[in-house]
């Protein structure tokens, strides 16, 4: 499989998954603001954006597996930087919450932060390695 084919297959799943994630998240907030939904209904509705996140990560995994070894290494490095960033923010802030009584971190934002850092890190590494 060529890199272009792998790219196409990745975005074909990733973009719809992220659109579904944003749309259903906004939709659930909109609904819960206007209607008194029971917690059980909210749990069930929340399964949709969770499924979209799962699909996005599955696409990311498949993409990495379909690339050749050099490009896969770049993807894995970028992903590790993203994971490290999230773990440092979550664990570091968690310690502060436990010990210093700081405001609670809205963990909802960890996913967008991860994708942003992962994307930037992968781009910088690709540039440094002469990929483009």
């Amino acid at each position: 499989m060529t890199t272009e084919q792998a790219n196409f297959r990745f975005f074909k799943v990733f973009v719809p998954a992220m659109i579904l994630y944003v749309a259903t998240t906004a939709g659930i907030v909109w609904l819960s603001d206007r209607h008194a939904l029971s917690p059980h209904v909210l749990y069930v509705l929340t399964l949709v954006p969770i499924g979209a996140i799962f699909a996005a990560f599955w696409a990311q995994w498949r993409f990495a597996m379909e690339l050749d070894e050099f490009l896969r290494l770049i993807q894995i490095k970028g992903t590790l930087i993203g994971v490290a960033c999230i773990m440092i923010i979550a664990s570091g802030w968690g310690q502060l919450e436990r010990l210093a009584d700081v405001p609670r971190l809205p963990v909802f934002w960890l996913l967008p932060v991860f994708w942003t850092v992962q994307g930037l890190a992968t781009t910088v590494i690709s540039k440094r390695e002469g990929v483009f």
Binding site: F70, L71, E129
Partner: protein, 64 residues
Amino acid sequence: MKNRLRALRAERGWSQSVLGDQLDVSRQTINAIEAGRYDPSLPLAFKIARLFGQSIEDIFDDQD
């Protein structure tokens, strides 16, 4: 790791894309190997050696 991949490719008049297609890797990977920025895995090193009809040691040099 130093290697003779660029010279071997040039001898045959192949572009990086053509060599990449024959090895089932991207042009970027060939470029990174030739520039010494990336050392190929053992399976890929064997594929390269077989394609050029040489041993891995003849193509790759791990001595400075």
